[in-house]
């Protein structure tokens, strides 16, 4: 291959390159902003959990940066399309791009792309992961534990009754309806009776698979009272699309009233011989 004698043409234009890069970054705010309009119109509801905003922040950071990147790619595509189309008397420049200057230029662009696009996102998500996602609250204290047993096609929830302990006769077992106190971290211990399901609460920005034969954990802290949808996100057969539940987040006082009432009902209906109704397992402490 013939190397180009020198990289003069690019080097001479470097200030122009930098100036246009800055202009492009400014320009890229336009698609990011219009995407924000899209989100307001069609996006998810605002997060209802204490840490859900982190997902949205990261989402919009990535959106801004990839919009900038895509605008740059489109412009670099558009310029030759408009300027360099084949016409009589016009000839392409004979350039193999194999000079040292070209290689250096490629390397610099790669480093910039990795730092701007990847490293910043990595840094933020690692921080979020360690502070929130992996940082599952320990049992006890303020933590509210929930056992979730998924099945085709329903969510079984089991929460402690007024005595605050699992495996006793006042355990509250519900199907497709979950009640949580606001502003207390809730830890979900997920498993499945049959096939793999995925516990998905869009408004809380969480999702975790419920696997048969293993216990998976996920947590969030409801921050806003109200009713929210629980969906199944993993294909689980015929009625996958109908596998929803409702999550009710109540103020602490109302929640305690509900717990008393539901606990009393559970106690009245308790049948020690009904093994089908008495599923429960000892989830391990601090399972990752």
């Amino acid at each position: 291959m013939n190397a180009r004698p020198s990289g003069r043409s690019l080097r001479a234009r470097r200030p122009a390159w930098l100036a246009s890069l800055a202009a492009l970054l400014a320009l890229a705010c336009a698609p990011a902003l219009s995407a924000q309009v899209v989100a307001d119109r069609w996006g998810p509801n605002p997060p209802a959990s204490a840490e859900g905003h982190r997902v949205d922040t990261l989402f919009w950071l990535i959106t801004t940066m990839i919009s900038a990147s895509f605008v740059i790619v489109l412009l670099l595509l558009l310029i030759p399309v408009l300027r360099d189309r084949a016409r009589p008397g016009h000839r392409a420049s004979y350039d193999h791009g194999s000079s040292l200057h070209d290689k250096r230029f490629t390397a610099i662009v790669s480093v910039i792309v990795f730092i701007v696009l990847d490293a910043s996102v990595l840094y933020i998500t690692m921080r979020d992961l360690r502070e929130v996602v992996w940082n599952i609250p320990r049992p006890g204290g303020n933590t509210y534990q929930v056992e979730v047993l998924a099945q085709q096609w329903a969510w079984n929830f089991r929460v402690p009754g007024p005595d605050g302990r699992f495996g006793t006769s006042d355990d509250i077992v519900t199907i497709n309806a979950l009640t949580l106190p606001v502003d207390r971290p809730a830890v979900f211990n997920l498993a499945s009776k049959d096939v793999i399901h995925s516990f998905y609460v869009p408004d809380m920005r969480v999702k975790r698979d419920a696997n048969p034969g293993a216990i998976n954990q996920v947590w969030f802290q409801p921050a806003v009272t109200g009713n929210y949808d629980i969906l199944c996100a993993e294909l689980c057969g015929y009625a996958h699309y109908q596998m929803h539940g409702t999550l009710a987040v109540l103020p602490q006082a109302e929640f305690e009233a509900w717990q008393q009432e539901a606990g009393a009902l559970a106690l009245a209906a308790w049948d020690g011989n009904d093994s089908e109704a008495n599923w429960a397992w000892e989830w391990k402490e601090n399972t990752p």
């Binding site: 670099l76 030759p80 790669s110 996602v133 920005r205 975790r208 696997n211 048969p212 015929y238």
Partner: protein, 573 residues
């Protein structure tokens, strides 16, 4: 070595057209086979989109025929079968035969200056194995107790007897095994042919980038198709022979298997599979952008290095498909970091493609338009991958339409655009006739516009939280409020599907009635354009001697033309 005349030209019809060992005939067989399956898979996509836009209403034209027991609407289990088979067919029976089977077989011997593949009989066996796989897969739709319904990923225990009792799922696994076996045979053949049969002077540094792309794909095929093959064997054993490799002890008293084991096996194959499909397309467009920009490919060696880096990295990032499965923090963060690193070679490829066009002399032929289309489509798809590589956002977006939009733009649309570019480009060499440029350009614009709408709308609905693989999105109020996005996607998808009829018409008409192509209609320099269109049985009268690289365009000392065959020396400036 490469000068040998490997086999004599057959005379009987069967030997010549059906059980041929000639790489050019096998390439055409793969092409027709792939196109027919793309049509079937495409019709399935149309039915999926019909159901999502008008849940529970009879499918026009096909409904009564396919679902005679109901009112002609798609039932929920039928819907699961549709997207399962749509994915399987498009990946294994549509794109793989077209991109790898057809272009691999056709281009490798012709572009490296060989008379045929090194193992012609294995080549024939590879084609007939994929045909068998296709037949088994098709038959699986009509068996008692139902067809495959577990998605193309077929996660146990849903794909086990607990979730899918129908023998269709077993036949599906056997079909995937057979198709994988076919790809392994092809891969061994491609690697050996490229290593052993290059014409004199065809050094590694003079190989067209198409061949480099196919070479890396063949390596991934040989390394990772055995993994999916093993996963399928275990699945068949679980389903039909009472083992429990994937069945946990809680569901089965006899053994303690693990459904997550399958997910690891599947994605160890499944992630390289994305690159198996995209690498040939990258190779093809890296060549075509240079050919039609009339300019040398920018930084050839760096492009090859970037493709090699992607090939290696593709094997160590599969865990990003399993962030919600229940990974440890250490594994999750490692897979995230490795996945992010892929963006560097990816960015270098874009940089080189754009630089190839820069100050070129661009000829906007149909192959050129589709190659530039790959830059656009893969740009959208590749950049949106960052959301899914990042665990923080992936947890929310996983298994929503965001993922569907992302992987369709990358592995489906980009590969398909590469396949279209290749089809328009090599059609004259394959069949000796030109495809209509006018219809080709119409096909390009009527494809890329609806395609962008289809998959970008999926990004919006996915961000809103719309889960994938739902039969009906109108059950929940929050999904009902974005149902109109489904309607937009579906209408655009129907335009997209309809536009492919332009291609089918152009293909069929040009095949028999197109204008005769000369030896070198595109004025390019690679070896296949030095021999007649279509090439004779033995490809080259004399094996060419290669003296220059594949991308010598617009050399200043070339006066009457701007291209140079690989068999001619560079002029003295």
């Amino acid at each position: 070595m490469s000068g040998d005349h490997i086999h004599a030209e057959p005379t009987g019809f069967l030997r010549k057209h059906v059980f041929s060992v000639d790489h050019k005939v096998i390439a055409k067989q793969f092409m027709w086979f792939g196109l027919v399956w793309l049509l079937i898979g495409g019709v399935m996509a149309m039915m999926i989109r019909w159901q999502l836009a008008n849940p529970g209403t009879p499918v026009p034209l096909l409904g009564k025929l396919l679902y005679p027991r109901g009112d002609g609407s798609v039932p929920p289990d039928g819907y699961n079968t549709l997207f399962t088979m749509h994915g399987t067919i498009m990946i294994f029976l549509g794109l793989t035969p077209l991109l790898i089977g057809c272009f691999g077989n056709f281009c490798i011997p012709l572009m490296i200056g060989a008379r045929d593949m090194i193992f012609p009989l294995l080549n024939m066996l590879s084609f007939w194995t994929v045909v068998l796989g296709g037949l088994v897969g098709f038959y699986s739709l009509f068996v008692p107790l139902g067809a495959a319904e577990g998605g193309w990923t077929a996660y146990p225990t849903l794909s086990g007897n607990i979730g899918t009792p129908g023998s269709g799922e077993t036949l599906w696994a056997i079909a995937v095994f057979l198709i994988g076996a076919s790809s392994i045979m092809g891969g061994i053949n491609y690697i050996t042919t490229i290593v052993r049969l290059r014409a004199p002077g065809m050094t590694w540094g003079r190989l067209p980038l198409t061949i480099w792309g196919l070479f890396f794909t063949a390596i991934l095929n040989v390394l990772f198709l055995p993994v999916i093959g093993s996963a399928m064997i275990l699945m068949v054993l679980d389903r039909s022979f009472g083992t429990s490799f994937y069945v946990p002890a809680t569901l089965n008293q006899t053994g303690g298997g693990d459904p997550i084991l399958y997910q690891h096996l599947f994605w160890i194959f499944g992630h390289p599979e994305v690159y198996i499909l995209i690498l040939p397309a990258w190779g093809i467009i890296s060549d075509l952008l240079s050919f039609f920009a009339r300019k040398p490919a920018f930084a050839y060696r760096v492009t090859v290095g970037a493709m090699a880096a992607v090939t290696i990295l593709s094997a160590v990032v599969y865990g990003h498909h399993m962030f919600t499965t229940g990974m440890t923090a250490m594994l999750g963060e490692s897979f995230m970091l490795l996945t992010m690193i892929i963006s560097v070679p990816g960015e270098i490829l874009f940089f080189n493609w754009l630089h190839t066009l820069w100050r070129g002399n661009l000829r906007f032929t149909t192959p050129m338009l589709f190659s530039m289309g790959v830059i656009f489509v893969f740009g959208l798809g590749g950049l949106t991958g960052i959301y899914l590589a990042t665990i923080g956002t992936d947890i929310y977006l996983h298994d929503t339409y965001f993922v569907v939009g992302h992987f369709h733009l990358t592995m489906a649309a980009s590969s398909l655009f590469g396949a279209f570019a290749g089809t328009y480009f090599w059609f004259p060499k394959l069949f000796g006739r030109m495809m209509s440029e006018k219809l080709g350009k119409l096909h390009f614009w009527t494809t890329i516009i609806p395609l962008t709408i289809v998959f970008c709308t999926m990004f919006i609905s996915g961000y809103a939280g719309m889960p994938r693989r739902y039969y009906n999105h109108t059950d929940l109020p929050f999904l009902r409020s974005i149902q109109h996005l489904n309607v937009i996607t579906s209408v655009a998808a129907f335009f997209l599907g309809g536009a492919q009829l332009i291609f089918a018409f152009n293909f069929i008409r040009s095949r028999w009635w197109g204008a005769k192509a000369g030896v070198n209609p595109w004025q390019v320099g690679t070896l296949e354009w030095t021999t007649p269109s279509p090439p004779p049985h033995h490809n080259f009268d004399t094996i060419p001697t290669v003296v220059t690289g594949p991308h010598e365009y617009s050399h200043p000392a070339l006066k009457d033309r701007d291209w140079l065959p690989q068999t001619e020396n560079l002029p003295v400036a």
